[in-house]
Symmetry: D3
Subunit: 68 residues, 6 copies
């Protein structure tokens, strides 16, 4: 399966903080670069996300802004 999202960063989960509905995931994509993802607790459970997992951070390009 290939996805239309143009931005796929491979990395490792550094931290998972789970609340009742939402979760905050820190993914280290390349030391010391860190990506923060806010996803549902449902997804954390379904994918069994935990510290040290090899994952990809995926971002649709229409969501990226540019600052100069």
């Amino acid at each position: 399966m290939e996805i239309s999202a143009r931005n796929v960063f491979k990395g490792k989960i550094e931290n998972v903080e789970v609340d009742a509905v939402m979760a905050n995931i820190h993914i280290k994509i390349e030391s010391p670069q860190l990506v923060t993802a806010i996803i549902t607790k449902e997804s954390v459970d379904k994918l069994d996300l935990k510290k040290g997992d090899s994952v990809s951070a995926i971002i649709k390009s229409t969501e990226v802004m540019v600052a100069k």
Copy 2:
């Protein structure tokens, strides 16, 4: 000015492709990592974005998905 978006990646613009309304910007954040941003032509003009510019790619953490 500091922004609430948790993901800010510094890099250089590698390519700018401008259409009548939208534009596709490729930002090299760390060789060979590339971020694709779809922004308005208005912003490209306003910020005068061009190849070689030092910019930041900014992404709100609620827009990041995780795949495993």
Copy 3:
């Protein structure tokens, strides 16, 4: 690969309209339900998307609104 996006709808591409930077894809997920996706021309080319292809429409749950 499993993705954290909670909404994945399988369907067939009914129409692909490509502009210089963006593309509009119509996906029939279940007659007569139709999903419209705006993605980059880059993705259309990379995934070779064309009418009749079996694809999935993927939507992060934070992007879904509810009206009543």
Copy 4:
């Protein structure tokens, strides 16, 4: 009132899970298709969303990705 969002799916709420700030809503749009929406608790209260309500799930087409 008509909205520019191209994706409007009518369905019934199957589950409402409310946290202090966010809420997770499951909407059955056509058996067994299920849409997950993450919205604010504020909206759940304002629209008085509860299991069995007839609602629409609304998604802007720029938020839809395609996988093949």
Copy 5:
């Protein structure tokens, strides 16, 4: 119909610029405040959007960032 999006601004369309797939709409919500919306050409045609129309700009609260 009420929508879960928490941000609804009434205003008048000041400019419509249409491309093959996407369109850029400027909405004056209160002089001199201006909202820019990027929506599909499909929606512009379907809602028959033109300069001077009274419309609402609608934004899901998870899409709003804060800078200080």
Copy 6:
């Protein structure tokens, strides 16, 4: 630093409600106009956001819908 997001509204924080992972921020941009932003608790802490702060609400134009 200038950002590609076309919608920047200056205002004052009227309310901050913080949960374990997410936070709901009300920003009064012009009486009685109110913008609701859902951001991470991390950002609330990092920017030290509190009632009465002068802030900007920032919204990428691809996230704005139009209703008529």
